[in-house]
Symmetry: C2
Subunit: 305 residues, 2 copies
């Protein structure tokens, strides 16, 4: 299960009633935060969530509205008694920028940094081997990454198949968990006891970007795509191009092309005081579009679970 909360939906600067874009995803007892602008720690509390269990913070890029809340949230985690290490991931220069931002922030746990350099890469969450994080280049005025969180689902145990192949019962559990076992010259592999692949869950988040085919690729069959809609109207597409942002219809086209299940629009310009008034610009292209609001929440479950 992935429990997704859009903490904020604003771009550029926080406003009364509109926190900066930040996405919180809970996977088991572990929290993953994508971006952390000024006020994110308050947005978390308003959403009834605790910063205490955030194990992984993914930064898309180093514009102030995406990172300035980092020292505050780390301090609050420390004050809540957190002692376990926290990993922060982001583009190149992470290891220079984060210590500066945290110059006056004290916290009693280790901060581990992971700098991304390739245009596309994948790594596994320390706390959950079935949770993959995929990072991919967006197209912004500075190096910016989008992130997919991919929760894999193990194939079902296929008892009939295991019996038919004469696999010793004592190896069933280990094989099911992915181990390969050799006994008396015979090799048993996991596929011998497992049924067909089962669809997992995919959440993709990408803001501060022009539309690209790479974003479509990472939104492919996503259960939820959280994409930027800096401006609602197509009339502002030229401004979006200049500043390297997207309008609602462009985000909707990505979700539609990718076959995503649902789209949340976020990172609204402060000039978009009523973004919901433009939602038809997205829905006419991709009906399952929703305007982001602070605290918006969705529980994603495996099929038939």
């Amino acid at each position: 299960m992935l429990d997704v909360t859009l903490l904020g939906c604003g771009g550029t600067m926080p406003l009364p009633g509109r926190w900066l874009t930040s996405l919180y995803v809970r996977c088991g007892g572990h929290g993953i935060l994508i971006d952390c602008g000024e006020g994110t720690q308050i947005a978390l509390k308003e959403a009834g969530l605790s910063a205490h269990s955030i194990d992984l913070i993914l930064l898309t890029h180093y514009h102030g509205d995406h990172v300035m809340g980092l020292p505050g949230i780390l301090m609050s985690m420390g004050m809540s008694g957190r002692q376990e290490p926290v990993t922060v991931v982001g583009p190149k220069h992470l290891t220079e920028i984060v210590p500066k931002l945290c110059a006056v922030a004290g916290f009693p746990f280790e901060l581990r940094g992971l700098e991304l350099t390739d245009p596309e890469c994948e790594f596994t969450a320390d706390f959950d081997p079935s949770l993959k994080i995929q990072a991919f280049h967006a197209q912004h005025s500075i190096v910016t990454y989008g992130y997919s969180l991919v929760k894999e689902r193990r194939p079902k145990f296929d008892k009939e198949r295991a019996e038919a192949l004469g696999i010793p019962v004592r190896y069933w559990s280990r094989l099911q968990k992915g181990e390969t076992i050799t006994d008396s010259g015979v090799t048993y592999t996991p596929d011998m006891v497992l049924g067909e692949e089962r669809k997992g869950l995919r959440v993709t988040c990408c803001t501060d970007t022009r539309p690209t085919e790479r974003i479509v690729k990472y939104c492919r069959n996503a259960d939820l795509a959280v994409l930027e809609g800096m401006y609602g109207s197509d009339e502002r597409i030229e401004a979006a191009k200049v500043k390297k942002h997207m309008v609602f219809s462009e985000a909707a086209q990505i979700a539609q092309k990718a076959g995503a299940k649902e789209l949340w629009l976020t990172h609204f310009s402060p000039s978009e005081t009523r973004p919901e008034e433009w939602i038809e610009n997205a829905r006419s292209i991709f009906p399952e579009s929703r305007c982001g609001t602070c605290g918006m929440h969705k529980e994603l479950r495996f099929d038939n679970e």
Copy 2:
């Protein structure tokens, strides 16, 4: 006139509905901000104020809850079209810490830094020669300053005195403004055309401190003292001593000794969810005590104006 707004009244961490302690004082068209924790730019907007005209930012000390909103507010000032220099004042290490905090903050104006080194000092606001800023050491776990804003009032022009002394009329205006003039071997001084001294205005702000005689000195006859009340109950005085903070009754004693006109309590611990329930602990000592609330406002005018 000094227009005072308590933007936030929280200590340690921002909470939903409680911004971190920050005081905004408007003097003519110029804004002065004392401290700037995470979210201060939103607190300003909620109070109906603009960051655009902030000319002077006074930092009390470098604990995160007092400075982490600085880069965000500077960025927002830049986005509002601000181009004039901004002066930031604070204890030693200002010129190392501020650039770090602002590592990812871009703004199109010059940031001037003034580091305080003496335990007590005074300077004049660039934008108003009749506004003095007094900085004084508080007693906290790290070097911390309190600030007094002192708006001086010019003595009235005394026409009878000027005439009696035979001061040429053509010099009256320049003398009234403080100039000394020598003409044909005769020296004319401002006091020759001015009546008696008139009381100005004094606002003193001091948080994150134990009570000291020095704070009493700077609160002397203050029109408004904004002092820390980290905890409401006297039972928490030992905790306050350990962490170098004050309880309500200690702040009230300072205001009472100093003969201040009014006291605002602020910088409440996050554990003080209803600080107003403790207000009698201050009022029994200093009746003109008020519990700070976010956006609390007072217009201070010269007597008989």
